[in-house]
Symmetry: C2
Subunit: 158 residues, 2 copies
């Protein structure tokens, strides 16, 4: 949670559209991440990747997810009363992220529910889409984040 959060649970509503900005995928960072966490040949070996079904180096799917997490932080969570996430669903790696790609993250709030048992927080379920610079859908996922409430206990409708 931010030391002085500006954004609380009450600031989310069903159907809300949120833009999180963009990041350009760096070749060196693809290799660094993959050597440590996902050293499959199509992530770390240019020649093997060129011969693979991907035709060239692609980012680890976990790396693409981590890059999106950074956009979430910079675009929202670091200014918000974020308390973490219980999980995510329906993560789909639709088009691989390649060096030089620019990925743009948007979200749509599916539901915002105050906790029935903990009056200081609520959960916000957001559907995320990642597009590349060609406008192609590259990745989608859905995740719940817990946010602290500005006015704990009021208007508990969850």
């Amino acid at each position: 949670m931010a030391a002085e959060p500006e954004i609380f649970f009450e600031d989310f509503f069903d159907g809300q559209e949120i833009s999180f900005g963009s990041v350009t995928v760096d070749r060196g960072e693809i290799l660094d991440f993959a050597r440590r966490y996902d050293p499959q040949s199509f992530h770390v070996d240019e020649e093997a990747a060129a011969r693979s079904i991907y035709g060239g180096i692609i980012a680890s799917g976990w790396h693409t997810g981590a890059m999106m997490m950074r956009l979430l932080c910079d675009g929202l969570f670091l200014r918000a009363a974020s308390m973490g996430s219980p999980g995510l669903d329906q993560l789909r790696w639709i088009r691989p992220a390649r060096p030089g790609d620019t990925l743009t993250l948007t979200g749509r709030v599916l539901s915002a529910k105050a906790s029935r048992t903990k009056p200081d927080r609520g959960s916000v379920d957001i559907s995320y889409k990642v597009h590349n610079q060609h406008g192609d859908l590259a990745m989608t996922f859905q995740a719940v984040t817990i946010f602290g409430r500005r006015f704990p206990g009021e208007k508990s409708d969850g």
Copy 2:
């Protein structure tokens, strides 16, 4: 895909149990990962984390996932004809990973299906569980991986 894969689609079967070994979570690595990809205070700031609902530094959920990906690589994918993954489902961060925790990954094959359209590959859907050193369930997820076939086109039952 490994240059000389030993493990192919045909080696998986419904109900198969797979062990992927363990990793111990390093405090410096938690901080390094989170500073780059998930700089929320409970991942990067010891004092703020101590005051948070987590009571101390915890790993980014994406970092925990990346550590499990490394176990998957070392335990299976680097010896296999892995062709990547279309996605994952039902990822749940049940207990946060803390510095010094040892996480152990196991999997159970839910289904192994030859591709109907591409005779050189099949998809294997695996349910994964991560336990910590106390035997507590820390994280679960379910993911499909595409594996090349040892004998393309034979016994296509998908």
